[in-house]
């Protein structure tokens, strides 16, 4: 029998139906012999799932076996418990399993814990009173049991962090013991001390420490220890390292740990193994939330991964890009995503990436035009995989504009949308959702700007309805659009003559099987028959954003009801009080529901989603059901003409919020890195970013060379371009924040170093005076105009020659800045001089002297740039000067110092 059952298991595994033998497996677990029983349990766990009918036959045996004095029997039963016990049968075995927590054999204790964990997953309430047991098991003598206890605790902590904060200390001490190899040798795995337990603990600590400074502080040392002890040559070591990075990125940020995490990530990314690259990209995505600047170090590695043949790696990289999208790089990223979306045919992932594209486009779209184009692309390629809500959002967006009170921009947006849609309609085979959007927009705004005649648009709409004749929804949208266009025409006082194909289409629809289509067609006919005034009140032009007041209580019917009651009609009985006629009323209710939702949705003239919600209050329907509603109900609907600006202002506020976020981050980061060394390092990176951005800048080429040679020798220009476009954005914004650091830096240094020269002090004072406009300037969202801001540099190139004279003169004057020259320009140089001087003061603290020079250079550049006055020539001169100063130091020429310092 045993052999047969094993064969049956095999048969089942191969995918054939073996249900005829299930009952024999159930019988087998009743057997006395452990051998047979064990096989029976194995077969049962493989055959049945928790809601199978035979489970009820097993519960009794399990109960008996849990009491067995042979621990192996208990183990076998516990294995089955984990798989087979469902929510209803938990109470039957729970008390016994709790008893088993104190079993002398650790294997039994462990399995009992896991069983309780399973119960918790199935129904959290059933084991909620056992939390103290889990805590007790954490101190179990056997590491295996302790490790197993971490699983349920992890789940418990995920759901409720706060009530387990007291365990932080114990978790940390356990982790410490593990890391110090206090556990038995048997738990070592590839020379790592109990890595699986370490990983589990790190996961728990990450949960406990997230946004909790106090708890996090307890963890810093031990996590740092693990970072040091992990050997990155073995796979398991890397697994622990990765978990450490996750933990560091989740807990309250600690600078030292972040640095080691960044180190580990760069090791991952540089490795040849695809697995490690994958983990590196993933870890980067996690860390980027805390310290965005680390992405820049790895930009080339990221781009390599993006172009990797490995699909998994590519997807992960897209996930990373999704996380680091900003308004500056959104175009590049979304374009890439759409390209990739076209190249795959896995529907699941296609849906996901499409929704991401939409989300990014909605959040960061640089222009309306671009947004519409992007949405078109997404719809065209991802088609019906796109959520219908996205289509509704798009319609709403076109209807409401982008929240700015700029009517011309909105109408421009609309006409561009109309134009692009008319163009797209020429293509064969469009997805249904997209067609719905197109129809709606054409109906609403097709004739709004007078560019296209009504007959042209209606012709197109008829074509759509004919071409997609098996898609009812699209046809319905098309008919509604037709009606709107005709209504607008009538309202404008023009004579309407229906196209012949439109006539035939209407005739077809009037006889359609779909009641919805029929209704719409009849309504169209009715509207065309009305005079201009009536039509305008039914379908006012461009009113899709206006709210419609729905009188849910149907108070306008009160008179009528009163009248009927006086005439002897039955008063309305609420549905709950009716018993006998419940069935009928339900049926009729539904009927009404359907009809009314169609009819109302139609005239509602709003986004379908909203109206449907608003229009089916059951109470009102119930009342309509008893009282015959007169036809007049529909014209009597009052349109509330006051537009409620809440939605648009909402959009504006989200935009505002987005920007604020960036600002907050900037300041937040500053608080995280109070040490000056950090600000130095960030500014170094910034220099790097700048050189990356203005590639054509010859004056800076030397700086760039030094950097590039330091970084990587062979980089294809194409990749570099991509990198610049992807990371240029971040680096730009970085630049802003970094400038904040820089401009504040000199003053802080000054104060620290207590410069003996009074002039220096003055200089520092003046720098700080100069700061406010600087910061203000950067507060403005000037990010978008990247290209123009670079152009002046190019222009300057030509001007450089003649202005050197001037600048050198200015240089001299600044050399004499000890005498406090009132010249502003002198002031700038002076600042640099000060910066240089001070930099050389702290040279010992910094390892790379030329770089600090450059920092000084860029500082002035930034300052000069930001304070470009109204006088163009003046500013040009300044730039030239800045250029000179900015370049010369990078040649590592000490003469400059002599020049400036006299």
């Amino acid at each position: 029998m045993k052999e047969y059952i094993i064969r049956l298991v095999y048969v089942e595994m191969l995918g054939h139906d073996a249900s005829f033998g299930y009952i024999h497996a159930v019988k087998m677990i009743h057997d006395d012999s452990l051998l047979v029983k064990r096989t029976g349990y194995l077969a049962v766990t493989l055959f049945l799932n928790e809601d199978h009918d035979l489970i009820i036959l097993i519960v009794n045996t399990i109960q008996k076996d849990l009491k067995s004095d042979n621990y192996l029997v208990v183990c076998a039963a516990l294995n089955a418990v984990c798989k087979l016990i469902n929510e209803e049968t938990i109470p039957a075995v729970l008390p016994q399993i709790v008893e088993l927590l104190a079993h002398p054999k650790e294997a039994v204790r462990k399995k009992a814990i896991m069983a309780l964990h399973r119960f918790y997953q199935k129904s959290p309430s059933s084991v909620s009173h056992l939390v103290s047991n889990f805590r007790k098991r954490l101190c179990d003598n056997d590491p295996g049991v302790m490790g197993a206890t971490l699983c349920p605790l992890f789940d418990l902590i995920t759901n409720d962090v706060n009530s387990y904060k007291d365990l932080v200390i114990s978790f940390v001490s356990i982790l410490k013991q593990v890391a110090e190899r206090r556990l038995p040798k048997a738990y070592d795995y590839h020379q790592m001390p109990a890595p699986f337990i370490q990983i589990k603990l790190l996961k728990i600590l990450a949960l406990l420490g997230s946004s909790d400074k106090q708890a996090s502080e307890n963890m810093y040392t031990v996590v740092g220890d693990i970072f040091r002890k992990c050997d990155s040559s073995s796979n398991i070591g890397n697994a622990v390292l990765y978990e450490c990075i996750c933990c560091v990125s989740s807990i309250y940020p600690n600078h030292k740990l972040l640095v080691s995490a960044a180190d580990a990530i760069s090791r991952f990314l540089k490795s040849d193994s695809h697995n490690l690259k994958y983990m590196g990209i993933d870890a980067l995505g996690r860390l980027i939330k805390i310290s965005p600047e680390i992405a820049e170090q790895h930009q080339l590695a990221v781009i390599d991964c993006l172009e990797d043949p490995d699909d998994t790696l590519k997807r992960k990289t897209f996930e990373l890009l999704y996380k680091m999208t900003k308004s500056t790089n959104v175009e590049v990223i979304v374009d890439r995503m759409i390209d990739y979306m076209n190249s795959i045919n896995d529907n699941h992932y296609k849906t996901e990436i499409a929704s991401r594209c939409v989300e990014l486009a909605e959040q960061f779209a640089p222009s309306n035009q671009w947004f519409i184009q992007t949405m078109n692309k997404v719809f065209e390629h991802a088609g019906d995989l796109v959520n219908i809500k996205v289509a509704h959002n798009l319609m709403r967006l076109i209807a409401e504009g982008f929240g700015e009170d700029d009517d011309t921009a909105d109408s421009q947006l609309r006409s561009s949308a109309v134009e692009s849609y008319l163009h797209i309609l020429g293509e064969p085979k469009l997805p249904s959702v997209f067609l719905q959007v197109i129809c709606w927009v054409l109906g609403e705004y097709g004739t709004a700007d007078g560019k296209y005649s009504a007959s042209y648009i209606t012709g197109k709409l008829c074509d759509v309805a004919e071409a997609y004749s098996n898609d009812e929804t699209v046809k319905a949208y098309a008919v509604t659009a037709l009606m709107k266009i005709y209504a607008f025409e009538i309202a404008a006082g023009r004579k309407v003559d229906m196209l012949p194909e439109c006539h035939s289409l209407m005739e077809e629809f009037l006889a359609s099987h779909s009641t919805d289509l029929q209704q719409r067609a009849y309504e169209l006919q009715a509207v065309i028959g009305l005079d201009a005034h009536a039509v305008e009140s039914i379908l006012p032009s461009d009113a899709s954003c206006e709210d419609i007041e729905v009188d849910k209580a149907l108070s306008f019917l009160n008179d009528y009801i009163q009248e009927s009651i006086e005439k002897g009609a039955q008063p309305y009985i609420p549905e709950s009080e009716r018993t006998g006629m419940l069935n009928i009323s339900n049926f009729r209710n539904q009927d009404h529901h359907e009809a009314s939702s169609h009819g109302l949705r139609f005239e509602a003239y709003e986004l379908p989603k909203q109206t449907v919600q608003a229009r089916i209050p059951p109470a009102s329907l119930a009342s309509t059901e008893l009282v015959p509603v007169p036809e007049a109900m529909y014209p009597r609907e009052s349109y509330q003409t006051t537009t409620v600006p809440s939605v648009s202002s909402d959009a504006a506020s989200t935009e505002l919020k987005l920007r604020l976020d960036g600002v907050q981050k900037r300041w937040g980061r500053q608080t995280h890195f109070p040490s000056t060394s950090t600000s130095n390092s960030t500014s170094l990176k910034t220099v790097n970013g700048i050189t990356q951005v203005d590639g054509s800048n010859t004056a800076n080429s030397r700086t760039r060379e030094t950097y590039d040679s330091r970084k990587q020798v062979e980089i294809s220009p194409e990749k570099q371009k991509l990198a610049a476009s992807l990371f240029g954005g971040p680096s730009k914004t970085e630049k802003k924040s970094a400038t904040g650091h820089k401009s504040s830096k000199p003053s802080s240094h000054m104060v620290k170093s207590h410069a003996p020269k009074s002039s220096m002090e003055v200089a520092s004072e003046k720098t700080s005076v100069q700061q406010p406009p600087d910061l203000l300037d950067f507060g403005e969202p000037t990010v978008r105009s990247t290209a123009p801001s670079l152009d002046p540099f190019k222009d300057l190139e030509g001007l450089l020659e003649p202005t050197t004279q001037v600048s050198s003169a200015v240089n001299h004057s600044s050399t004499a800045a000890v005498t406090k020259s009132p010249d502003i320009m002198g002031l700038y140089t002076e600042t640099t001089a000060g910066a240089h001087h001070k930099d050389s003061d702290i040279l010992s603290g910094l390892s790379k002297p030329p770089m600090t020079n450059m920092v000084g250079g860029t500082t002035t550049m930034q300052v000069a740039q930001s304070s470009k006055g109204p006088n163009l020539k003046d500013s040009l001169e300044k730039d030239a000067l800045v250029r000179q100063i900015g370049v010369t130091p990078s040649s590592q020429n000490p003469n400059l110092f002599k020049d400036i310092l006299g």
């Binding site: 995918g15 183990c75 896991m114 699983c151 048997a186 738990y187 697995n275």
Partner: protein, 161 residues
């Protein structure tokens, strides 16, 4: 948590399946078909993770067998890779240089070992020695049981004479 464990041969034949989340028989065959199509076609140098229906599948090839485990998105893939390796090491120790044939003929034993290693989709025992000891204990009990039954039948047979 681990949703299922699959062992597939290079030809796409299933060698072992263990489901920790509920999948109907129909879904199971579909999953196996989809995954074997996805995994067996991947090149040798690519990474050992595959995204699949919002989940991750971690796989590793040992000789002609692919060991696959399906996990949640936020799990540690490298750790799962090591759990696979851990399982293989335990199998290796148990069978003594394990090969595909061992698993075909003794697949129930492979299941027993897996049950000692993973329970309800979580790793329950990180120590190889403990697993080996437990499995051995069960086996020895089976052995004694066998001896007993044979001796009893012998006694009965003798008595019958």
């Amino acid at each position: 948590m681990i949703h299922f464990v699959l062992l597939i041969s290079r030809q796409g034949k299933v060698r072992l399946t263990k489901w920790y989340s509920a999948y109907s028989q129909k879904e199971r065959t579909k999953v196996i078909r989809e995954l074997s199509g996805l995994i067996l076609t991947r090149g040798p140098k690519l990474c050992n993770f595959v995204e699949w229906r919002g989940l991750r599948v971690v796989y590793k090839r040992y000789a002609s067998l692919y060991f696959c485990m399906c996990i949640d998105e936020d799990d540690n893939e490298l750790e799962i890779l090591e759990i696979i390796h851990h399982y293989v090491e335990v199998l290796d120790r148990y069978f003594g240089s394990v090969c595909e044939l061992d698993l075909i003929y003794n697949f129930h034993k492979a299941y027993f070992i897996l049950d000692e290693l993973l329970i309800a989709g979580e790793l329950q025992e990180p120590s190889k020695r403990t697993v080996a000891r437990l499995v051995a204990a069960q086996d020895s009990l089976v052995e004694t049981a066998k001896e007993q039954t044979s001796s009893i039948t012998n006694i009965i047979a003798q008595a019958a004479k």
